[in-house]
């Protein structure tokens, strides 16, 4: 079993879910793949379907229209799964708190359908790529 756990840690496939972001976290996430940061070194791969993913990178707060879709994507991800909430808006809805279209931060929405869901918070507006890598590595240690 521990071998499998090690394998899990060495190979995280992520799927990027942009709820209602300002785009900034998103481009910084893509930045992770590019030559300067190259997270493929750690076996992290961006995949095209949540079916293949181990981790969801969620950016932005959740609005009324994207909430059911986020839940849908979350449920489509096979266990074990981790959610990374990126940026201030994802963590706390940030500047958009209280808006009519704001349905809450990512953790609240995920916990509505899956109280056990593991959520990793990466603060910043946007988080620096180094911070993101650090967060992923730390999260893997914690699992």
């Amino acid at each position: 079993m521990s071998l499998k756990m090690k394998a899990f840690k060495k190979s995280i496939w992520v799927y990027h879910v942009a709820c209602s972001p300002c785009n900034n976290c998103d481009i910084e996430i893509l930045d992770l793949l590019t030559p300067r940061f190259d997270v493929e070194r750690f076996g992290i791969l961006l995949v095209g379907s949540p079916r293949h993913a181990d981790a969801l990178l969620v950016t932005g707060m959740v609005n009324r229209l994207s909430k059911p879709r986020l839940i849908e994507v979350y449920l489509q991800t096979p266990r074990p799964r981790v959610v990374f909430a990126f940026g201030s808006c994802g963590i706390s809805t940030g500047i958009f708190a209280g808006g009519y279209n704001t349905e809450g931060p990512v953790d609240k929405v995920i916990h509505e359908v899956d109280p056990e869901g593991v959520i990793v918070y990466v603060p910043g507006c946007p988080p620096r790529p180094e911070a993101m890598i650090d967060a992923i590595v730390k999260a893997l240690k914690a699992i």
Partner: protein
């Protein structure tokens, strides 16, 4: 009528960094009709600004979009200056221009990379983004942040450049020219690229006028429209540069426009840095009288339009934001029908859509009062200064 075959693209499509939803009605692989559903990104901007002070709003509009995080404040401060009837000092204008053009390069390179990714050319993606890192380094050196620069304020800019920063920027900006040439050649000379991009998703000049498209989308359709030249602001009328126009209206033209604009931007930045005038960087805007004003800026994707109405208080009465994608998106209908599914992905990319910008409108709070300011870390960069101005305004 026979039921049409429906193929969805989105909302969480790997193609799209942001959520939106295209419904494609296809016959085989040919798109016969399409419909767009946006709103997944609809947050709270247009009325957040109605409940925040003139100065705080700069940071809010900055978060309309992460990629155009200069464009919106740029247009916003101009609108406020329009209402107040003042003008920012020349040094501030130059600094604004430099930041805006840096952003244009990084945005265009980002687009080139993503477009490469969409058609499976990941090497272009990697190269373009590697080149883009240089710009981000310069931005970081000049403003202190990679993306949200927080440089603008009504009446001027927040931070001045020192000589070391200018020297650094002048040195590094030359590093962009070579890779950009490399990528441009890689795209323009590759026969497979030609096969994939030429003649695809044509937006005719007539359609472009009818849809009032803006920015590279319009310039790719043979429309000589550039807000920087047509409605001069900032330092754009003080430096030499050219508007890039391509005649065909296909994806290839739009790509060429963007690639060539990068060179123009480098030129503008170089001139601005070299001729940066001395003087103050802030016109010390103290109060905003009742009235209305318009601010525009040519963002990487096209004209950003801000309309501000003031009732004399310390908050805007109404603030209308129009992002370029809002005008460009509906033109899909004119350019996508009759194309293959594979091309539609590319055509969507070709206007460089930015849904964050498009879906900015929002309302704050149940009671209409100011929202509780949870966004401490958003504003922490400028907290002190905000407080200072509040005191100055006597609040």
């Amino acid at each position: 009528m026979k039921k049409k075959t429906v193929i969805p693209i989105g909302p969480y499509h790997p193609l799209l960094e942001e959520p939106e939803f295209f419904i494609l009605y296809v016959d085989g692989e040919t798109v016969v009709d399409m419909d767009v559903r946006i709103g997944y990104n609809h947050r709270a901007i247009e009325k957040i600004v109605e409940s925040k002070t003139w100065d705080q709003d700069t940071f809010v509009v900055e978060r309309i979009c992460g990629i155009c995080s200069t464009s919106h404040p740029f247009a916003y401060v101009q609108a406020v200056e329009d209402v107040a009837g003042i003008e920012a000092p020349p040094r501030a204008q130059y600094i604004r221009t430099i930041i805006a053009e840096l952003e244009r390069i990084h945005s265009h390179l980002l687009w080139v990379g993503l477009a490469g990714h969409f058609i499976g050319y990941n090497t272009v993606f990697m190269w373009a983004w590697k080149c883009r890192e240089t710009i981000l380094d310069i931005s970081e050196k000049l403003t202190g942040n990679r993306n949200h620069y927080a440089m603008f304020k009504p009446g001027g800019v927040r931070r001045d450049f020192n000589d070391e920063q200018i020297e650094y920027a002048l040195k590094r900006i030359e590093e962009v020219w070579k890779p950009n040439e490399l990528i441009t050649n890689a795209i323009l000379d590759d026969p497979v690229m030609h096969a994939r991009l030429k003649g695809v998703g044509v937006l005719s000049t007539e359609d472009a006028i009818a849809y009032s498209v803006v920015g590279p989308t319009a310039r790719g359709s043979n429309l000589d429209w550039d807000v920087r030249r047509d409605h001069p602001y900032g330092a754009y009328d003080k430096v030499k540069w050219d508007v890039c126009v391509q005649p065909d209206g296909d994806v290839f033209s739009k790509a060429v426009v963007r690639l060539l604009e990068n060179f123009e931007s480098v030129k503008i930045i170089r001139q601005c840095l070299e001729n940066l005038p001395d003087g103050p960087i802030d016109a010390e805007l103290s109060e905003v009288p009742p009235g209305e004003g318009i601010g525009i800026h040519e963002a990487p994707r096209g004209e950003v339009f801000h309309y501000v109405r003031s009732d004399g208080s310390n908050m805007p009465y109404r603030h209308k934001v129009r992002a370029p994608t809002f005008m460009n998106l509906p033109s899909f209908k004119a350019s996508c029908i009759g194309e293959e599914i594979a091309d539609v992905a590319l055509i969507t990319a070709s206007i460089d859509p930015c849904y964050c910008c498009t879906e900015r409108v929002g309302v704050v709070d149940k009671s209409g009062n100011r929202s509780t300011l949870k966004e401490a870390d958003l504003i922490k960069l400028s907290q002190e200064k905000t407080e200072l101005i509040r005191k100055k305004l006597g609040k």
